[in-house]
C-alpha cells in the first residue's frame, strides 16, 4: 500500500491534534477523505479544501506513493 503524507492547517489541526502524519493511501482522494472522516469524525463539521501536491483540487483522483495531501480551511491572510 503506497504511503502518502498528510498535512493539516488552521482549525483542522485542532481536530487531528498533529500538523502532519504519514498515511497508508487508499486508491483515490475521495476514499482518503472518507477514511479521514472515520478517523477524525469532527472533520465532518470543519470547512476545508484538499490539495494534492500543492494544487487545490475539487476532483477525485488516484493517489500515488509520496503524494502530499493537505487539508486547507478557508484562507485568512493579511
Amino acid at each position: 500500500m503506497p504511503k502518502i503524507n498528510l498535512i493539516y492547517f488552521g482549525s483542522v489541526t485542532d481536530v487531528t491534534g498533529c500538523p502532519a502524519e504519514p498515511f497508508d493511501a487508499p486508491a483515490t482522494l475521495n476514499e482518503l477523505n472518507e477514511l479521514l472522516h472515520l478517523r477524525y469524525p469532527a472533520l465532518l463539521v470543519v470547512r476545508y479544501r484538499l490539495s494534492v501536491n500543492r494544487q487545490l483540487t475539487t476532483e477525485n483522483m488516484k493517489l500515488t506513493e509520496g503524494d502530499e495531501i493537505a487539508l486547507l480551511p478557508p484562507f485568512a491572510g493579511g
Binding site: I7, F9, G10, S11, D14, R47, S51, R54, E68, A70, L72, P73, P74, F75, A76, G77, G78
Partner: protein
C-alpha cells in the same frame, strides 16, 4: 520584471519598507511606488481584546500561489514595473505589521489599482491562517 516573495517570522519592521524604497533608487523608470501595510487590530470580541495574531502558512504552496497572483497582476496592469510581497508567520502583536505589499509602476493610477487588486487576491488565494490570541490567553481561529 522584478519580483520576490518572502515569508517573515514575526512582525514586519519598518526596516523592510526603507530597504525596498532604497533598492529602487537606482531604477528611474518608475514614477510611483505604492505600499500596503497590514496591521494587527486590537479588536474587541465578546468582551475580550485581541492581543496578537498567530499566523501559519503552507510554505510549499505560498510561492507558486504568489507567482500566479503576480502573473495575473502583471498581465492586467501593463504599466507595472515591480511587485514585492512580504507576509508574517508566527506571532504578531496588535499594532504590529503582518503584511507588506509594494507596487512600482510608471504612473500612479495603475500603481494604486494593482495594489488593491493584489491585496484582494492575497486574501482570497494565499494559504495563510490566523488565530486570534486574546489578552486573557484564550484563542480562536479566524475563518
Amino acid at each position: 520584471m522584478t519580483t520576490s516573495m518572502h515569508l517573515v517570522e514575526g512582525p514586519l519592521t519598518t526596516d523592510v519598507v526603507g530597504r525596498e524604497v532604497s533598492s529602487h533608487q537606482s531604477g528611474t523608470s518608475a514614477g510611483a511606488h505604492t505600499f500596503f501595510l497590514g496591521q494587527v487590530r486590537s479588536d474587541q470580541v465578546e468582551g475580550k481584546t485581541v492581543a496578537a495574531i498567530e499566523y501559519s502558512a503552507y510554505d510549499g504552496m505560498v510561492d507558486p500561489v504568489i507567482q500566479s497572483i503576480k502573473n495575473q497582476i502583471f498581465e492586467e496592469f501593463s504599466d507595472l514595473i515591480s511587485l514585492h510581497i512580504y507576509h508574517s508567520t508566527g506571532l504578531v502583536r496588535s499594532g504590529e505589521i503582518s503584511m507588506l505589499i509594494m507596487v512600482s509602476a510608471g504612473h500612479r493610477k495603475q500603481s494604486f489599482a494593482a495594489l488593491e487588486k493584489c491585496v484582494e487576491l492575497i486574501k482570497e488565494k494565499l494559504p495563510v491562517w490566523k488565530k486570534e490570541i486574546f489578552s486573557d490567553g484564550t484563542s480562536r481561529w479566524i475563518q
